[in-house]
Symmetry: D2
Subunit: 128 residues, 4 copies
Amino acid sequence: MAGSTAEESGILSIEQYDEDVIVASAWFDDSHLRPGGIIAGPNLFLAVDSMGYLVTMSRAPKGSNGFTSAISMQFLRPAPAGGLRVEGRLLKFGKRGSVVDTVLYSHAFADPVAQAVVTYVPLFPATD
Amino acid sequence: MAGSTAEESGILSIEQYDEDVIVASAWFDDSHLRPGGIIAGPNLFLAVDSMGYLVTMSRAPKGSNGFTSAISMQFLRPAPAGGLRVEGRLLKFGKRGSVVDTVLYSHAFADPVAQAVVTYVPLFPATD
Amino acid sequence: MAGSTAEESGILSIEQYDEDVIVASAWFDDSHLRPGGIIAGPNLFLAVDSMGYLVTMSRAPKGSNGFTSAISMQFLRPAPAGGLRVEGRLLKFGKRGSVVDTVLYSHAFADPVAQAVVTYVPLFPATD
Amino acid sequence: MAGSTAEESGILSIEQYDEDVIVASAWFDDSHLRPGGIIAGPNLFLAVDSMGYLVTMSRAPKGSNGFTSAISMQFLRPAPAGGLRVEGRLLKFGKRGSVVDTVLYSHAFADPVAQAVVTYVPLFPATD
């Protein structure tokens, strides 16, 4: 039940929005760094958590919300401060939970810096 | 390569320190909450990431450091603001990476609020 | 949707059955080995998958069934042929999925050989 | 330390072999099914485990071997008996472990049936 609320997804700027695939960018400046000048883990976590929310909501009825139930994340390479490219792809959408594959890329090189599978449980709005 | 530096582990206060098992507490006040009054996901992530560091360092030579290479985390129940109990247990210690099982408990009820397996790669100090 | 059916759980012999904790044993002979004389990965997978089923069913109404939706597994040490001790502990039970922590021990030494978190979705019997 | 040996990768027939991406097919007949006519979980596990081995070996020196250290797997949809398409993509190659993203598709429909991230530790041949 991580913090995948609409408010928090504000760290992502959507650049491409297709069915089942969303690409966004995020910017992490000096206040988000750990020693060594790399983006700290909790910020990378926030980026993939927010993408799990966005991709799920692209399929859910208007007014839905929800929560993250699981994240399995690989930290592949240190990400230097600056821009990140965040790609999200829907693997499954279902009432019990959607499964979203996310990959993070740095502005500085081509190989991915992190990958995560996010399981997000959508809560649909009550119908009258 | 998440932010498991000594500095960040400052959010944990160690309460019990046995071989292969560490118990710590963390406190999350109103500044760490998401709407609904529950502790936001990135803070829970930081707690387990820090515990992965602490448990690994309990076995590594003095002066070691390292980085988190993977975290697989289950968000089980919403955690209300306040104290968390963080338990870490070493499943394996190795040069290629240690594996630490962590469970988070709220002050408010007995069932766990989150569980994570953290893989942390220790970097030993250079020997002369 | 792994093979966690009642039939397959037949590889486990239950030795202890408490609320939220089940301990079982399994036996893997020479037909289950990979070169080097260690128990092959798919057999360890089957053991944790079966335990996810058993622990979930201990809480579900009689006549329930279900399927595995996710497994996150750590292979910690090679397991020599022979008996395994399989411990399962319920972290959460819910309609959308139960979360079960499982640890595998060899008969040959004290440290665990594998650990897994199994997410199992129970399907309750239809009510008339 | 799952069963990712060369022998076991024999269940996969390689169809496409590019740098960092391998596509293979596998065939599961009636002997691999669980009740309901779907391919049993341990067989899907074997397919992604074998792909983790193949993708890692495509980068390792000739004569290398190794073992699987972790698998995080999502079971997305039941897979009916017959052919599977297995896609493997290298996220990272390193001495401490390679990280391979794998997706399984059924012959019967377009959506993926399973996804897994495999961490495989390569062991390079001894040099004289």
